[in-house]
């Protein structure tokens, strides 16, 4: 990246340096003014008083509200990915099948669930479990969230796997055929394991998407995840600004760490594979552009 950035402009001479400095100062002053205006406004609404922020320094608030919420968020995200992975692999293999009657239905499932908003799936799943199953009320929101996330992410992961399998050198298939493996054996023993490793960074990136998507559970199905805890906090302390700030910081740090992990894995893969080999991280930004 940095190479493309620097190729866009000459190495700054004294004049350019001065100009950049001036731009920096103007831009910096504008930013500082914006921040000051925000703080002033918040202060005038009494949102910056110690009373509204103090709760977050007490262990009770963490142990009874924030940590359980964080736990619920992580639980839903991890469950979703763990369940979606094998289904995604099956769908991917299905889409690569030699038989049309396998290929087509798999393609329809994948395209259908990728075209529908997760929130719509969640509303449907929540009501479905409510009407047709005996799932107890306290786990129903979790079921709804996980079901919706699994349906969507299995489809996305299927596409990730498909790309992963396709990115493998053709020699792998040929060698597998040469030693007499059947198609299923070739897929399970040779191609899928390699695709899985190659796509590991993409899968970790997808975890970021899933983690963010769990927050959709707070809108209609009432899953007690991190964002939903805002209700309990503001009901007790009427400190909406402080509450949403703290919750945002928690989400951002979690996702930032995961993104870092994905980049690190990507670098690791590239080195292991002898440099030049291109490892597709995300097929398209849509994989990352999710609520």
């Amino acid at each position: 990246m940095s190479s493309a950035a620097t190729v866009l402009y000459d190495h700054p001479g004294p004049k350019a340096k001065a100009r950049n400095l001036i731009f920096s100062i103007i831009f910096g002053v504008l930013l500082v003014l914006l921040v000051l205006w925000v703080l002033d406004k918040l202060n005038s609404k009494g949102e910056l008083t110690a009373k509204k922020w103090e709760p977050f320094t007490t262990s009770n608030v963490w142990s009874n509200f924030l940590l359980p919420g964080l736990g619920a968020t992580i639980k839903a995200a991890v469950l979703s990915v763990i369940i979606a992975l094998p289904i995604g692999a099956i769908l991917a293999v299905g889409r690569l099948s030699d038989h049309r009657w396998v290929r087509w239905p798999a393609a329809v499932v994948v395209e259908f669930f990728r075209a529908i908003p997760v929130l719509i799936l969640m509303v449907f799943a929540g009501e479905f479990y409510f009407q047709y199953t005996d799932v107890p009320s306290e786990s129903r929101p979790l079921f709804a969230v996980v079901t919706a996330l699994v349906l969507y992410n299995a489809s996305v992961l299927a596409e990730i796997f498909r790309a992963g399998i396709r990115s493998l050198p053709h020699g792998q298939t040929e060698a597998a055929q040469a030693i007499g493996l059947r198609k299923t054996q070739m897929m399970v023993l040779i191609l899928l394991p390699q695709a899985l490793t190659a796509m590991l960074p993409a899968i970790v990136s997808q975890l970021v998407v899933v983690l963010k998507d769990t927050a959709l559970g707070s809108i209609f199905v009432g899953y007690a995840e991190l964002l939903r805890q805002a209700n309990n906090l503001t009901a007790n302390f009427s400190n909406s600004v402080a509450t949403y700030t703290v919750i945002a910081v928690l989400y951002i740090s979690m996702n930032f760490i995961l993104s870092m992990l994905a980049s690190w894995l990507e670098k690791l893969m590239r080195n292991r594979r002898g440099g030049g080999k291109h490892v597709p991280r995300a097929l398209d930004p849509e994989l990352e552009v999710r609520a």
Binding site: T58, I90, A106, S137, F143, A154, A235
Partner: protein, 276 residues
């Protein structure tokens, strides 16, 4: 194929999550609440100050909580043996029918539609739909004074705000949030002019912000709050009715109200007659 995959997907979710929550299940006993239970699971609200609120220390506070505890005491259950469970408005009948809670005390209005599914004891309180405004507001004196450009707040999919729109002023604008806390927050920062729902719920918020907010006190429509329980448990219903009557009679009822919503300046209403 498509169906089978979706079925597998659903099934695996069901199986996995069920193993996870297996420990949370409780055996449903067909006994009556009047038969000296050892333990009770009671449904309350978790996010309603003054009525049912989960405090940061993990305890529960509010008028509904006090009523629930009093009933438990009368049924012979120690306070430590009560498990409180969040019961969201839309799920209350379902919780009772499936035996996940023994009874519900959660601003639960007695209606004929609900009576088809559950039984009610009480009422232990008669609430009226009302308006919460800033203390400094002199323009809004009742639902009739809501005019064209007033902004009213209520929660998504709730009936109170719609009622005002239909009955009093069509021109009033409606802001819908997920919770009343967000509404009160918007009221305090001046983004809306009034919040509407039952007066005692509003009083709970007013009590949190003494001096800043007031309940208008010109309630309309009667909401009889009852204690919801299994439809078949007639003996239990009689026992809870007796407990409520005793609570109203011995002064605990008034004391509980005074403690939880009194600081708002809200006038404690007349004692209800137990009629269910």
């Amino acid at each position: 194929m498509k169906l089978r995959k979706s079925a597998i997907a659903l099934l695996s979710v069901v199986l996995l999550a069920q193993t996870l929550s297996a420990c949370g299940k409780k055996d449903s006993k067909g006994n009556s609440l009047a038969d000296k239970p050892n333990k009770l699971t009671v449904g309350i609200k978790f996010d309603q100050p003054g009525l049912g609120l989960k405090a940061p220390d993990g305890t529960f506070k509010g008028f509904d909580v006090d009523v629930a505890k009093y009933i438990a005491k009368e049924l012979g259950v120690k306070e430590g043996d009560i498990t409180f469970k969040e019961s969201k408005s839309a799920e209350r009948e379902n919780l009772i029918e499936k035996g996940e809670v023994d009874y519900i005390v959660a601003t639960y209005s007695i209606t004929d539609v609900r009576k088809e599914k559950v039984a009610f004891a009480g009422p232990y309180f008669v609430a009226h739909q009302d308006l919460l405004v800033k203390s400094s507001n002199t323009k809004i004196t009742g639902p009739e004074s809501l005019t064209g450009n007033m902004k009213l707040c209520s929660v998504k999919g709730s009936t109170p705000a719609q009622k005002i729109k239909d009955k009093y002023s069509k021109a009033v604008q409606l802001q819908e949030y997920g919770t009343y806390s967000d509404c009160v927050d918007a009221l305090l920062s001046g983004a809306v002019d009034a919040v509407t729902t039952d007066d005692v719920i509003l009083a709970g918020y007013a009590a949190q912000h003494p001096g800043d907010l007031k309940v208008i006190g010109k309630g309309f429509s009667d909401e009889h709050y009852g204690v919801g329980l299994k439809k078949t448990d007639t003996k239990g219903k009689t026992a809870i009715n007796a407990a409520i009557t005793k609570m109203i009679g011995d002064g605990s009822w008034e004391a509980a109200l005074q403690k939880n919503v009194g600081p708002s300046g809200y006038k404690i209403p007349a004692k209800p007659a137990v009629t269910e």
